[in-house]
Amino acid sequence: MKPAPFDYCRPSTVAEAVEALNSTESSRVLAGGQSLIPAMNFRLTDVSVLVDIGHVEGLDTVACDPGGVTVGAAATQTQVLDDDGVAGVVGGLRAALRHVGHLQIRNRGTVCGSLAHADPAAELPALAVASGAVIAVSGPDGERRVDAGDFFIGPFWTALEDGELITEVRFPAPPPGSVTIVDEISRRAGDFAVAGLVATVQADGGAVRSASLVGFGLGGVPTRLESAEAAIGGWAADHPAEPLAEAVMADTADAFDDIHATSWYRSEAVAALTVRAARSALAAGEAS
């Protein structure tokens, strides 16, 4: 498990990083390296130049304001988790990160790296889609901003073009009074999810007014549960759960099969998570 030969460079500005990325065909950005380095060691990824952005000025920031949280490309997951301001503005970010890997992984892994890697079972891409995050990208043609909803194209496949890198991601604050729940079924603590859900729920007088529901670990990209979003309006804890569950299962009928779970299991599991999330959100609403 030794990687094939590669070059390594450590730029100090975004411009230098973009230049290095464009110096060869199979260049890759190294941020936390928690997925890329194992893939190189397994010789699953062919990398000629590794562009380490860990020393690029200004990329390791976490900035909170009332409108949202902006996370730089080199900011680690632990940095975001430990930031006092984050939870108050985008509660879902903290809720999602608690499911990401183990402490050691979060100490190195970055939020933007997880988005760029686009593992279909990862929490952060789903959160980005659910919360309407905007991803800032720099490349040879300058900067552009991509809505998270347009960013994820397939498994491990994003709207990033060759030679581009993410510089930051902006998670907007959810609607006031809403609750964001990130829940998942994983085989072991810290594993990628077998099935997961990001739910931002607005409740009103003991019933759900509306909810943003995005599943993960189900298909190639985060899965917006559109029928369930339609079905959940007006749902209350004493309503039958079946119609809501069935809506989720209709949204996830083509969930994938792998060695960890079958398609039907994933679909059922995310339905159960949805019902659970709705109940928790309503209970939280009552408590507050």
Binding site: K2, I259, A272
Partner: protein, 809 residues
Amino acid sequence: MSLDIDSHIRHSTRHIGRSVPRREDRGPLTGRGRYVADIKIVGMLEVVLVRSIEAHARIVSIDTSEALAVEGVQAVFTAADLADVKTFPDYIPYIGPVKQRPLAEDRVRYVGAPYAAVVAVDRYIAEDAAALVAAGTTYEPLPTVADLDQALAPGAPTLHDHWESNYSFDVATHKPEVDHAFEQADHTFSETYVSQRQTGLPMETRGVVADITDGTLTVWSSTQSPHMVRSTVALMLGMPEPQVRVVHPTIGGGFGTKTHIYPEDIVVPWIARRLDQPARWIEDRMENLVASVHAREQRHDVEVAYDDDGTIRGVRCASMLDMGSGEIFMPGTAPVFVTNACITGGYDFPNMQARTIGVVTNKTPAGAYRGFGIPEGAFVMERIIDRVARLTGTDRVELRRRMLVRPGQTPYVMHGGGRLDSGSHTESFERALEMAQPALERARARYAGDPDVRVGVGFSNYVEPTSPSYHLTTGHWGGGDAATVRVDPDGSVRVAAGLSAIGQGAETTAAQLAADALGVSPENVTVVLGDTERAPYGLGSWGSRGAMMLTGSVLLASERLMDKARAIAAHMLEAAEADIVLTDGAFHVAGSDQPSVSWAEVGTAAWIRYVDLPDGMEPGLETSGYFHPENLQHQLDDTGKINAAASWSNGAHIGVVSVRVSTGEVRIEDYVVVHDCGTVINPALVEGQVHGGVAQGIAGAMYEHFQYDPDTANPRFASFMDYLVPTCAEVPRMEVDHFESPAPEQPLGVKGCGEGGTVGPPAVVAGAVSDALSEWGVDLTECPVTPVAVRAAIRSAGAAGAGAAGAGS
């Protein structure tokens, strides 16, 4: 025979029975362990094995030219280069011979089979070149068999040319009394129980370093059996055994996988000899998952005859082992025999008729893994008992109480000849029930308000054969072990034994025993294990044999040494030998206030100051003992039965689980173990063995599973992303208690305890989850118990209210 342990104790503060701190941990815990991968020799070359990417294929050609052109590559070897190496022996007469070559010759039978070796100046270059050899290999794919059914289907492709089918062996017993039971019983049922493919997974992978200097080949090997490695390397490379030394450095666990002797154990020394340069190979984790043995993949076709009152009258069980390609030395055949021998566990149940079958498939060879077939059988028996209890409306606990071997019933001869020489089968279960009751109440209270959660309890009452004969497993080696004890001129004690230290605490154990037997402090005892040049021949650490063999052989050697030391002391004190007593490192005349003689004075007399020796006494103070339990049988008797274990430990496990109905998630709330391994030498070590064993048992019950593609026999795993090893977050708190039923035929009453922990969890978890979901009639028959398996079981029950909405609707 009654035990008089005290007669062996010559230290006022007895060390046996105390949790003396482990002496072997300082190195590994402070980063100062010296593992095989830490061995550095000037000029040492790196070896990388090139492994088959086909599950079954002829190798048409291997083009090594590109690899050889890489700067830093010293050589690339294929099977043709190793023509002077003998074939791995096929010692066992009743199984199909596999004629295994160290490197595959013209045919590969599993993904991961080594067929070439690249030698380079460093590992990076070696891997670059290995990739080129792989790319330069032309295969002619052959049809594959990925499981038992495929392997045994009519017209199935056979793996081994000289075999008529893929059966390696098929050994059946016939018992008329079982036929009679089936005729008489009120009811019968048939079921198939399945245990999945796993591996022992030591933290340290395997590794070999080899070097020849002055005609002596030194092999550093991460093995559990250094002397067997020496014998086999010498045999296959055609060298005299004294010219082969196997050194056993710090070992990061073995769990059975390192009892085997692998191609790399032969190929790396051969390369060192061929190139006359030191060479090393360190298994990486990716290779480890395909190149070290797998285990536990068994299917059990069972017929059960039972009466309305829950009495189980007879069981017929055909146990089939998926052996993978079978290309491993020693063969991986024995665990399924152990499965059948131990299947009735702690129950008094003679009416068992067993058929034992081994089948080859295009997968990694199967071999040893801690538990060695016992968990698979325990799973079957406990599932049968639960089924009969449910079918007849009998209480699961009461039925077990009726069946367990009772106090006073030992020695009890099991259906296959296993002789339960002693034990606490009933007592352990009763104690475990007491301990589990509060746990069950706690869990019920915790989830009382959650309509989505059910709570259940599961049981396992098992036996653990310890210190087995190795003859049936290897067709060659037996089952005793040697130790040498020496007292040096300064009075220090040195103990050397052929057993190997693999993390189990063997060094601490040996020191405790020698300290008590020679009346010294453990700090005065130096322990040398495993190194073939420094320790006498021993079979190594496997089969829960360390405690029995080590204490048996060290005690024997110590007693012999004491006889001589007492004679010397008597002479020096001018007293009769019978009047000499030893306490705390000094010999006295009993009841006298004469000055004493120290071990240093006795040692000095023995080795240096011969003038102090009695007339005619041969100098020296070093003795050996070879412990071989009297009752240990190596071969079947006339009736086809065998007691192949020197003694039998037993245990009772009870687990309380919660199951989330809507998602199938299982959580072990509490886990109780009552364990009996005879006289306990060191309670902390025993508890450590139990904890680790249970953790590995839980791995088998719920997580670890090597899955293969049924169409291609390709592994569907490459890393720990796919092969799920439980972490501390998945392993529950355990409560452990002990009984001590001494082994009658071991001088201290010691039995082994290395494997029992692994045995209970599959039966316990499947039983507890089935209990929790009894309202849906769930009765699990396979491991692992995954969320998908749980949901599938609920769905197949088809009950209303079991939908995914669950959660109390």
